[in-house]
């Protein structure tokens, strides 16, 4: 008898590799082969784009109609393009300008002895009412001062030194730049001296209390400033607004305002002989508070100038003639798209529990953390691509259609547009990861989907649809995952523009990426808890 050697069976099939790449491939296969999920992701794109377009074209703009309806216009004919500043942003540029040309280098010096104002608390005033019915008082940003401006066209480059209603002396240039100088006001007993000096492209601003000791406030480089510019005195005063809470939301009331500045000791130094002063109202009537145009003027007696103007020289900040909107309004469909992505992402894990597939998954890949990492990567990347496609189509398409339908879309720099699109895509990705993590925690799709939708959409509704008062709205958009919508904010808040900076008006309390970081923190915590739960509990 001979003993036969028994060799244990060894499969001739080479063992499969067990790397992370294989795991990714397995999860990707699971995701793409469930038809409903692919449909869900396509629906996410369609909803995002569709709602964006719907909102863009859904509004019919009608304007300029006579009482008998004869001269009514609609759509693109109503669009009013605001002036654009040197950096391409929409600006307000209307004021009363007492000016003369300045060729080559030179400087202007004045003494401001008073700044007064009048404002309307009840909207536009009658064309022949004069200043009757106006309340005395300056606005915080009523300005009187000196300005060097490329030309008298709205939106042209400038640098100015001005005394303001309650913000001290300011040097401002090219609309968005604002530098604080002396903090005092200008009165007859305590006047302010202002000086602007031009040297090539550079304009420097100085202030002084006595006309002897000068302090440099700032320097502006106005690229491409022509040899001959306009130099002179100006006064302007932005609209007066009061925002109040009312039924179903906040409302604003107010009216146009007037500022009056008194100047003396006007000294112009230049190589060419000084000419006569010309008074011009800058800006078309609609932008310049038409009803105040009747009061704009200047008087010159014995070297004392009194200049009265209305309007503002500042970034437009969403206020201007005609219908305007911020670029991100074309991304309103993102809410619907996110809901679809949340459903798919939560089911990506809960379906495994429901069908018992999780046991096979974990048998094949016993390291649960790696399995979760693979799932997170796959759903994150897929959601990112979904969001990228959706936003990259919805944003330009929606804005193009809104523009063609008569709504002026406030222009944004290319970097901001890129941030809006990539930020939206990143939001899709992180929200998907959050839904996956919550789904892993709960193992039940209904609870997971509801929790994530409620956490993201409900705070936004309560804050933006003005259900809750302003202070609470600020906190909701700071602390909840809805803070991430800050990444879609294209409007820039400026301290030198008085406006209602609330989430309802498109201004979030956190900076774009900080707001996005809040969502990321929620997703990270949820993912951490999901990992612990997955490891500790039986599948």
């Amino acid at each position: 008898m001979s003993t036969t050697e028994i060799t244990p069976y060894r499969s001739t099939v080479r063992p499969g590799r067990n790397g992370f790449a294989q795991l990714l491939r397995a999860e990707w296969t699971k995701l793409r082969t469930v038809r409903g999920w692919t449909i869900g992701l396509v629906i996410a794109v369609l909803l995002t784009v569709g709602l964006g377009v719907l909102v863009a074209v859904g509004g019919s703009i009608v304007c300029g109609s006579n009482p008998d309806g004869s001269d009514s216009k609609s759509g693109a004919a109503c669009r009013q393009n605001p002036p654009l500043g040197p950096d391409g942003e929409a600006v307000s540029d209307s004021f009363y300008f007492v000016h003369q040309p300045l060729t080559g280098d030179g400087s202007i010096t004045v003494r401001v002895t008073s700044l007064t104002g009048l404002y309307s608390t009840h909207g536009a005033i009658q064309p022949d009412a004069g200043t009757a019915g106006l309340t005395p008082g300056t606005q915080p940003w009523t300005k009187a001062g000196i300005i060097i401006k490329q030309n008298t066209t709205q939106g042209s480059a400038y640098a100015a030194m001005a005394v303001t209603g309650s913000n001290g002396v300011r040097m401002q240039y090219n609309y968005s730049h604002d530098i604080a100088g002396d903090s005092g006001t200008a009165t007859a007993t305590s006047p302010q001296w202002l000086r602007l000096t031009r040297s090539g492209d550079t304009v420097s601003g100085y202030d002084s209390r006595d006309g002897v000791h000068w302090t440099q406030v700032g320097t502006a480089t106005l690229a491409g400033l022509p040899s001959t510019v306009q130099v002179g005195l100006f006064t302007t005063s932005p609209g007066y607004t009061v925002t109040s809470d009312s039924f179903g939301g906040g409302s604003s009331t107010g009216g146009p305002t007037l500022g009056t500045g008194t100047f003396d000791n006007v000294a112009l130094q230049s190589s060419s002989p000084a000419g006569a002063w010309t008074g011009s109202a800058i800006g078309d009537d609609s932008a310049r508070a038409l009803s105040m145009a009747q009061n704009e003027q200047f008087q010159q007696t014995d070297g004392t100038f009194t200049v009265t103007g209305s309007g503002d020289i500042a970034p437009a900040g969403g206020q201007g003639p005609g219908a305007q909107r911020a670029a991100e309004e074309s991304l309103v469909g993102v809410f619907a798209g996110l809901i679809a992505v949340i459903v798919v992402a939560a089911m990506f894990i809960t379906a495994e529990y429901r069908r018992g597939l999780i046991r096979i998954t974990l048998a094949a890949s016993p390291r649960r953390g790696r399995m979760l990492a693979a799932k997170t990567t796959v759903i994150g990347v897929v959601a990112f691509v979904t969001g990228l496609i959706a936003a990259a189509v919805a944003l330009p398409l929606g804005n193009h259609m809104a523009y063609n339908h008569g709504t002026y879309v406030l222009p944004i720099p290319a970097t901001t547009e890129l941030r809006l699109i990539v930020g939206t895509a990143a939001m899709f990705a992180v929200v998907a990861v959050l839904a996956l993590a919550v789904g892993t925690l709960f193992r039940r799709s209904t609870a997971a989907v509801t929790l994530v939708i409620v956490a993201i959409v409900l705070p936004y509704i309560l804050a933006v649809a003005e259900v809750l008062p302003g202070g609470t709205a600020q906190w909701l958009t700071r602390l909840t995952p809805a803070a991430a919508f800050a990444v879609q904010q294209s409007l820039v808040p400026y301290p030198q523009v008085t406006a209602t900076y609330t989430p309802a008006n498109g201004y979030f309390p956190l900076s774009p990426w900080a707001g996005f970081g809040v969502l990321c923190a929620y997703a990270a915590v949820a993912l951490g808890l999901a990992f612990l739960r997955l490891r500790r509990r039986d599948a």
Partner: protein, 284 residues
């Protein structure tokens, strides 16, 4: 008829079905069966508690955040103290969706229909029970919210001198807001039930329900055209339905309180109709 009830009485007495007795399942049996299913699910009691708890919690937060500094400060105290319904309805939607799609996900639905082949009877029983539970929980939620408003709001400036008497259910408009909010939750339950019956998959159903509810104010906010804005507020389920919470400034509302609730009722009725039809015509 009398024989049927005798039989059913017998069955209840003996605790077992009489052998060989074939009878159609009545609505009563269906109710009994559905009630057993619903009450023995561990989630149900938590959801019923959540409807009341979440509603009261958010209402309390809203009340705490709202102050009235001068006369007629433009706030609607009933509306402020019932804000929690915004969140409570999410729990209602889960309750209703799970009542239907829970059966589909476990395959229980085939047992249910094998035992009670009259599907619409089963559906009606489900609808009645989910509505009843929601009404119960919603009533507690609404009562708690109004109570908090009554106790806290006078301290936040909602005083008689500012034109705000304390909230009271004896006051007609406040009673309408409160009872209307409870009915609103019931209609949300029916809307969710109909949609869940139509799509069967719970995650998809809850996504559709919450999208339908929560998207309308977001989109209305973005629509600049006043006509479209008004249309959205008049005809979308949440905006229209919550009009029932208004007690002041009714003339300026896009839709009247009861009319708004009527619009939501039409949505819920439509969803139940389509869901029931699908249930009747489709394979389980």
């Amino acid at each position: 008829m009398s024989r049927m009830s005798n039989l059913s009485r017998m069955s209840r007495l003996s605790g077992a079905k009489p052998r060989g007795a074939l009878r159609a399942s009545s609505l009563r049996d269906a109710l009994h069966a559905e009630w057993t299913k619903l009450r023995t699910l561990p989630g149900t009691i938590w959801l019923v508690l959540a409807i009341a708890g979440l509603t009261v919690a958010v209402s309390a937060m809203s009340v705490a955040a709202t102050t009235c500094l001068d006369a007629e400060c433009g706030r609607d105290p009933a509306k402020v103290s019932l804000t929690g319904v915004y969140l409570g309805q999410a729990a209602v939607a889960i309750l209703a969706v799970l009542a239907v799609s829970g059966e589909y996900s476990t395959g229980m639905v085939r047992v249910t229909f094998a035992a009670m082949p009259r599907r619409l009877t089963v559906f009606a029983a489900k609808a009645a029970l989910v509505s009843g539970l929601t009404l119960l929980s919603g009533a507690v939620a609404v009562f708690g919210s109004v109570l908090i408003g009554r106790l806290v709001m006078p301290g936040k400036g909602f005083t008689v001198t500012h034109g705000y008497p304390p909230l009271s259910l004896a006051d007609g408009p406040v009673l309408r807001a409160a009872s209307g909010s409870a009915l609103y939750l019931v209609l949300i339950a029916l809307l969710s039930l109909g949609i869940a019956t139509l799509v069967r998959e719970s995650a998809t159903a809850i996504g559709i329900v919450l999208g339908l509810l929560y998207l309308s104010p977001v989109i209305a906010q973005a629509v600049s055209d006043p006509h479209w804005h008004r249309r959205l507020e008049r005809y979308t389920p949440m905006s229209a339905g919550l009009a029932v919470q208004a007690t002041r400034n009714l003339a300026n509302l896009p839709i009247g309180p009861w009319e708004g609730l009527g619009v939501l009722a039409a949505w819920a009725g439509g969803a139940v109709l389509v869901g029931g039809l699908a249930l009747h015509l489709r394979d389980a």
